[in-house]
Symmetry: C2
Subunit: 453 residues, 2 copies
């Protein structure tokens, strides 16, 4: 019996997300990203299609490695302009009941006290349907925007992140007791001050002496997502993450990372099942394989090679504009600015070229698409769960929103008929849907902190 597959739509509050250039397809609606109705319609489509969640990426800064400036990124709308993702969620939450919302926020740039309140507010307003993708990187352009000359070194960022997490955990988990709020009109007592306490955090990077401003929300700590696959990133994920995101580097590679994170989590006293692994996938499907291939051929006409190279250059840390199409790309200059940049560069082999890269980026991204009939796609996804220990998928957009509607209409029934997908939404918070309870388990480090005095 296959496990039940979890499913997120993966999107971003911008025009071009992963598959570069597809916003120019006549049916693509990503240029409506400034319109609230676009997002509330999308949320309803996803909820009706039994998606578990909508996951919103974000990036602070621009992709300015290619050509040494942001010109090509601006031309091709490669994740720029990009608006705040968090502000989409309240409107989508008002339009839905079950859909979860994962949101990316970079803790380097968010003051922890106000950030903690923002997440608590979202958790209240969504009735416990919010998750946070913890990001600590990764662009120098973001660091310059925030007033640093460059971003902190990779491992230092994770040390800072550990302190940040300890602080926000205290605010979310310890400042208010579950029964602090009485809301008693007769006695006029809203909260019992004996059950509310200040957090006193005097760390290396942060100092806070204050109560949390929000009363306890359904989940308290939002569901925690993390995407680091570097050794330090895996340790961070093993400590903190409830859901980890991975990108496909073959079944063996993905399985190795998942197994490693679960082993590290076990060593830290957590249950391996307390961590769900989501694989990023791109799907082009149809009722038949022929229909899927036709759609794929249609889509790929709209790919932008330049935009794809802009994104790849930023990920690889190499200015691909400096190389001729068949010139071997010198990776020795690569800066490992993504947590998996080294692995990516390795996967290209020692003698790779722009041409080879472009041939690989067949749909405008380094993520190869799964193209096939709904049944073939369903089989492939189930195989990932069986062979690599994947729990679910982050479905990136191609031509939006039809790619999500296609998946719901075509692939979901195939998964259901194989016993690999729910037939209705489960009730309750996002964490309850994923893990059976609203709050973090006792084995999570947020629960093991010394009690706020």
């Amino acid at each position: 019996m296959p496990r039940e597959i979890l499913l997120n739509a993966f999107d971003m509050n911008c025009v071009g997300h992963i598959q570069q250039g597809l916003w120019t397809h006549p049916r693509d609606q990503a240029t409506r990203y400034l319109d609230l109705a676009y997002w509330t319609e999308l949320a309803k489509t996803l909820e009706d299609g039994l998606f578990d969640g909508l996951f919103l990426a974000d990036v602070i800064g621009v992709y300015d490695i290619f050509g040494g400036n942001a010109d090509a990124a601006l031309r091709g709308a490669v994740q720029v302009p990009v608006n705040d993702p968090m502000l989409l969620i309240p409107a989508m939450a008002a339009a839905t009941t079950h859909l979860g919302f994962g949101v990316t926020a970079n803790l380097l740039y968010e003051a922890p006290y106000l950030f903690a309140r923002r997440m608590s507010t979202l958790d209240h307003l969504t009735r416990g349907r919010v998750g946070w993708n913890i990001v600590t990187g990764y662009l120098d352009s973001a660091a310059r925007a925030a007033g640093f000359s460059a971003q902190p070194a990779h491992d230092d960022r994770y040390d800072l992140a550990d302190e940040y997490m300890s602080l926000v955990y205290q605010l979310w988990e310890q400042s208010w007791d579950d029964d602090a709020v009485r809301a008693d009109r007769q006695t006029g007592v809203y909260a019992d001050p004996a059950k509310v306490r200040a957090v006193h955090h005097h760390g290396k990077q942060y100092r806070v002496d204050a109560i949390h401003l929000s009363e306890p929300s359904p989940q308290r700590t939002p569901v925690l997502y993390q995407a680091g696959s570097s050794p330090r990133g895996r340790r961070f994920a093993a400590s903190h993450a409830e859901c980890v995101f991975l990108n496909g580097q073959g079944v063996a590679g993905v399985k190795a990372i998942i197994d490693d994170i679960r082993a590290l989590a076990s060593a830290a006293g957590r249950a391996p099942a307390d961590i769900k692994a989501f694989l990023g996938v791109t799907v082009v499907t149809g009722a038949t394989e022929a229909e899927a291939r036709d759609k794929f051929d249609d889509y790929r006409q709209y790919v932008s090679s330049e935009a794809a190279l802009v994104h790849a250059a930023a990920s690889l840390g190499v200015d691909l504009a400096r190389f001729d199409i068949d010139e071997p790309v010198d990776t020795s200059a690569s800066q490992a600015i993504t947590s998996n940049a080294e692995a990516i560069a390795r996967s290209q082999g020692p003698q790779w070229t722009r041409r080879k890269l472009l041939e690989q980026m067949v749909l405008g991204s380094r993520q190869p698409p799964l193209v096939g009939s709904a049944g073939q796609v369903a089989e492939a996804l189930i195989a990932w769960t069986e062979d690599a220990g994947v729990d679910g998928f982050n479905l990136s957009r191609t031509v939006a929103p039809e790619c999500f509607a296609d998946f719901a209409r075509l692939v979901v029934p195939e998964l259901q008929s194989r016993g690999a997908f729910k037939t209705t939404h489960r009730p309750g918070s996002l964490r309850r849907k994923l893990f059976g309870q609203d709050r973090l388990p006792a084995s999570h480090p947020a629960k093991a902190l010394p009690l706020t005095p």
Copy 2:
């Protein structure tokens, strides 16, 4: 012919806002503040009632002067717990077409680069219906939450605020030309990089080298609100504000402040009419005076004296818990932590007591209520506009939301019949509704900054 009166509802993402204790009234719904439907219903009530906007207060920190701790504030829900106000706006915007949204944000605690993006995102999602109440103060407890030992001195805060404004103006006004976005599917060009430029701000407090991440929004800079009435606060308002908030200290006092701010604005090259003055008012009304008085007598039974003193103690900077009911309050210990604390303390006279203060806070706040028939209220409001140069009102909540519905149902028709209120919403952005154009006028200092290179 009276001028057309502008009208905001004044509220906060919390249980107790200005009139302390009224959340215990059986019909009050403020304890629903965690429920998105409460806010979308309120927004529709306000839009249908021809309110121009909903103004959301905020405070970072707790009122811990009274008794030396936050216990009484927590008991009485005196602006604590308090959730993020900005996150209410997208859901309310999706439920309405015309209503404006003013939101309070304290620039001391919001990193300017991400804050600028948040406001641009809101301006896009609301189609230009957003305003920002610029706050720089005022609680030591907020400073401690953010990692400072105490907040910066009053005038230093305004110097920092001037630099902050200069930076966000550059991001909002200068980074993207109006015609930078082409969104051309044929050529694959989303934005013209020649029309997008980085802001280079190397100031005393902030350093940013980056393009703004958001494309130009309908208003670019949100409508700017400010509430300072200290001499330094007035200078700040005269430079930056388009709408100023005042609280009633008698007609002559209010008129003097408005005249002073307009004179300062004129001296700075701005048109006096480019600044609208809003007076905070509390209204209890009915079809007849008797009905209004009955309602007032009903409401006042639910006032919390303790909660009112908590709020007053924070405003006055005096621990009122240390004084017996008839003991003269020693104001020499008062810290002027609100911009108008000195004026407030002066207005109490040299020999005031808790008893006198409580008698004055008849509805749980130092803001005296206007109680009368709808016609009487309308006359009183029109008199304020004629005698003090007030342009509009911030209507604070008593028993919510019925206080707003009452005003719309009863007072608005009385104002309309006197030619002092619109009969339908005007089209366009919030700034267009208020000032006839979407963007800041050329005389505003945001337009006079040296051009970003």
